[in-house]
Amino acid sequence: MDTLLLARLQFATTTSIHFLFVAVTLGLVTLLVGMQTAWFVTGNPQWERLTRFWGQLYVINYVLGIATGIVLEFQFGLNWSGLSRYVGNVFGAPLAIETLVAFFLESTFLGMWIFGWHRLRRGVHLALLWGVALTAYASAFWIMVANAWLQHPVGYELRDGVAQLTDFGALLTNPTLGMALGHVIAASLLTGGMLMASVSAWHLLRRTTDFALHRTSLRIGLVTAALAVTMVQGFGFAQFGPVGEFQPTKFGGGPTADAAVAEWTSRFGPGDYTPPALSSVGLGFMILIGFTLGCVWLLLPLLWRDLVIRLRFPLWLTLCALPLPFVAVLLGWLAREVGRQPWAAYGLLPTDRAVSDVDPSLMLASLIGFSLLLGTLAVTNWTLLARHAARGATDPALGRPPGVQDDEPRPTPAFA
């Protein structure tokens, strides 16, 4: 096996796991901001309980977002040192901005939010959650700036074979950025909304206590999912324009693709410049999922007089649809990234020049090690999430009043 293939596999595995978690992070934090703000404004304790319950799930989910994100960040240097050597001057800037503007503050705020219940004034505590959400969006923005640049390098000039930044504004107005960012954010909201609706549907099906609470979150989840799925479709189709124009080889051949290949052959030598066909197959399935999830609109009229709940089968449908957004986000990214092959930066830096010059056996060890580690952590994290989702909103550890410890053995909760 060659180092390049192993490095690509490793990137694919770690990013995919990362995105499964951060999509939920981005979606849920938006809904949490809404719920905690409602609590602040109305003072209704129902909103506090909702915030604590969903906040608990959000925080558990967050763990793997961090763990996988750190691995990704290091991977650029460990496995893709050519990327920093040839395009680091341009590509590194948005990533550096992201870590400083977004992650640094996001985690600082989140730590204070988790431990700030009963300790900070309610306004400050709410402001912290707003801070977490805004920085999460900022991080999505800057990371997409970086990714869009790899899809379509702009605002640079080659000097001695190294890309130098000439126009930072061009990075921000990159045509492959806007629609993709909208699409990713909408997809995250869809994922978060579906998660909320499904967990609530499960509780309503099991007829656990807290009917009113789960009814509220079912409604929030379904309405969010419906609005988001429409945005997903809109931004999704809008992506075809720029992608077709700037990445002619992505979705199959054609005269512009042939012209691009001819040009690359003259610049970089002969080679296979078409991406694997697999990527567009995934895209087709994603679009199919997009239309399937569009049916969530049909459930909205049933919110009238709680028909969704009383008919029961809509709850089952919601529950069964939970995996769909997760599958779709992965397929979408695979299409976007594999479709960029064989380029690390489209038309500028081939992947085989971007990969680090390390021994294949070392790369293999690192691939196996990190995949096993992150895979195991992902599974345990989902198990914990499922347990806490099933336990319900009776007594989440998040926001528990001080003085209560759970180190003493306690009766096992009924639904754990």
Binding site: I60, L64, I66, A67, I70, V71, E73, F74, F76, G77, L78, W80, G82, S84, R85, G88, N89, V90, G92, A93, L95, A96, E98, T99, L100, V101, F103, F104, L105, S107, G111, M112, I114, F115, G116, W117, R119, Q164, L165, F168, D357, D359, L362, G369, F370, L373, L374, L377, T380, N381, L384, R387, A397, R400, P402, G403, V404, D406, D407, P409
Partner: protein
Amino acid sequence: MALVWYALLGLFVAGYLVLAGYDYGVGLLLARRGTPATRRAGLTALGPFFLGNEVWLVAAVGILFGVFPTLEGELLSGYYPAVAGALVGVILVTAGVQQRSRPTGPAARRGWDRVIVVGSALAAFGWGALLAGLLQGLPIDADGHVAGQAHLATPFVAATGLALLTLVAAHGATFLTLRLPAADLPATARLARRLLVGALAAVATAAALGLLSDRVRAATRQPLPAVLLLVALVGALVAARAALRRGRPGVALAATSAALALPVALVGAALWPAVLVSTVDPAATVGVTDAAASGPTLRLLGWLLLPLLPALLGFQAMCWWVFRGRTDGRAPVYW
């Protein structure tokens, strides 16, 4: 210009070692036998600071990538095993601390605690090994490639990894003397003093091996500052022990913090003006200025960071201020 950025990079790396250092130290101390309540007390002491500590690493790597792209690639891939090992440790600690209290069963919690111990040890050892690797140089050839990873397998690297491990353990215990309820102070201080002796011994061993190694001597460009900083490091450890004996945990924590920041300064100063010293081809040695990004990128990031830095440090300081003082029955519990 490049010097300012280099200093800033040093600040973030040192900040990471100081802050996450006590996380790892407290993590290592979970290996002691103790009741579930004592283990929980240590994690509660970390509590609100934990998430804000590890981001210093994320920010340091961000600066490395944005400002020193050439260095980023060659540094991380040239010391692959050390970096990957430390990274696994960081991941285990991140996941372990945040998840250990989510299951309610004591067995599951004990399992997660072991994960935290192993992770803390790996992280501390790995970063120590990386610092040592920098000091002894690496075989970069004229195209900037590093052949193999055998250059890391030296006694100096192992000793420095161990030295950092003992340093974070002592730092973690010192942190607990400042955070745990006052009733625990005498016992924790005794533990911290013992660990400080171990740290002194480990640092002395690593220093001796370094002075004996001809690779380290050849790579060092500024011997005088390096030796002075080493003396300062030893001085900080001695001062920390003295402060603990006199019942001044705050001073002691400041001293152990200095002890974790000084190795970063030492590596930076000893190699200056180089960052990566080639052991095979002097022309392949990477200097600070050649590693830096070009003018426009540096200007852009400079204008951005200038107003941002006070905000970044300000919010961190807010976190320390809000949650200052000793933990007691009313301290929020989550990890």
